[in-house]
């Protein structure tokens, strides 16, 4: 049984002449919360899509919980994309039934509890929801699965500060020492307190991969300040 939820070696993704990922080596330990930080177009989303099975890598190997990307990994990955991926015409209850049908690790009670705490009407259709509510519902759905690795793509962008707190609390509350949580974002200062490790990615390459406390001790700055320094134009 590996201690790693994810291991990738020399991951390359090419689109014609353009290289979106230039040979990435990463490993994420189970029980860690990792921040994948970088500006738009740095390769974060490409990396996550490959993990989720939405893109095929050009070169390199990647295993999730020691399994190759495929049907088996889709069952143990919980992915929260930036967009709403439920049908407009679906209600929250429809979404819950859907997840229950297709994901054996979905915990229905947990989801209903969280929805109740937020006073969300489970019979409401997605098309009638505000943006913030949609995002909260999706987050609840994703975090209610007992997956081996969670990929949260920009979970707090476009969300009001109170909702951001809710997102962060949900992530901490769902902490599972057998799972890794990967948070991809460019809003670092809001989440850096909950990260174990950070990975800085720029132009498809890893420029930094270290433990947060070690970075703070070494540089005496916040991750946010370091990020601004590393990525200044």
């Amino acid at each position: 049984m590996s201690e790693f939820a994810l291991e990738c070696k020399n991951l390359v993704k090419r689109y014609g002449s353009k290289e979106a990922l230039k040979g990435i080596d990463l490993s994420f330990k189970k029980g860690n919360i990792i921040g994948l930080l970088g500006p738009n177009g740095s390769g974060k989303t490409t990396f996550i899509k490959i993990c989720a099975g939405l893109l095929k890598q050009t070169e390199g190997s990647i295993v999730i919980d020691e399994k190759n990307i495929g049907l088996e990994t889709k069952a143990i990955i919980s992915y929260l994309p930036e967009r709403t991926y439920f049908e407009d015409s679906m209600t929250v209850i429809d979404a819950i039934k859907f997840f229950e049908t297709f994901y054996s690790d979905f915990q229905c009670e947990k989801a209903l509890d969280m929805l109740k705490n937020l006073d969300i009407d489970v019979n409401m259709k997605f098309k009638k929801m505000s943006k913030g509510t949609k995002e909260k519902v999706q987050l609840i759905m994703v975090m209610s699965r007992k997956a081996k690795i969670y990929f949260l793509d920009e979970p707090i962008a476009g969300v009001d500060p109170a909702a951001r707190d809710y997102v962060i609390n949900t992530i901490i509350n769902n902490y599972d020492e057998n799972a890794a949580v990967v948070i991809s974002t460019h809003l670092i200062s809001d989440i850096e307190n909950i990260l174990d490790d950070v990975v800085f990615i720029k132009n498809g390459e890893i420029v930094l991969n270290d433990n947060v406390d070690r970075i703070r001790e070494k540089s005496g700055t916040s991750i946010d300040s370091l990020f601004r320094e590393v990525f200044k134009c």
Binding site: N32, I172, N173, Y175, E192, N193, D196, V212, D224, S225
Partner: protein, 122 residues
């Protein structure tokens, strides 16, 4: 109880400081049971691994001890708590002295100022 952390220092050291303060001030009573790591992490809005690390450090310093399955408890050693209080007070006084010294006050003047202001405080 809102835990405020500055982001340019490791969080776990700040958690240790925060808990030490609470022990000294009596906010955490000797022998009191602490919440679980997860509960404390949620309260402080930090990573559970970070909270665990802080608590483990405090355990090493014997300010906190764990009883196998019942969780973690504040030390009952009153001497240790008093020592902690004393060393905190000492540091504050030394810092205070450095600041007063930097505006040119002697030790006698400082004591006179302190007595005067305490007199006015009542």
């Amino acid at each position: 109880m809102i835990w405020e952390f500055s982001k340019d220092k490791p969080i776990y050291t700040q958690i240790i400081e925060y808990i030490k303060m609470n022990i000294i001030s009596g906010e955490y009573k000797p022998g009191e049971k602490l919440l679980s790591v997860r509960e404390m992490a949620v309260l402080a809005k930090v990573n559970p691994n970070t909270m665990q690390r802080a608590l483990q450090e405090l355990e090493k310093d014997e300010l906190v001890f764990s009883k196998r399955t019942s969780g973690r408890f504040i030390t009952e050693d009153k001497n240790m708590i008093d020592e902690l209080k004393a060393s905190f007070a000492k540091k504050q006084i030394m810092d205070f002295y450095e600041k007063m010294k930097s505006i040119g006050l002697t030790k006698e003047e400082i004591i006179r100022y302190v007595q005067k202001i305490f007199g006015e405080m009542k």
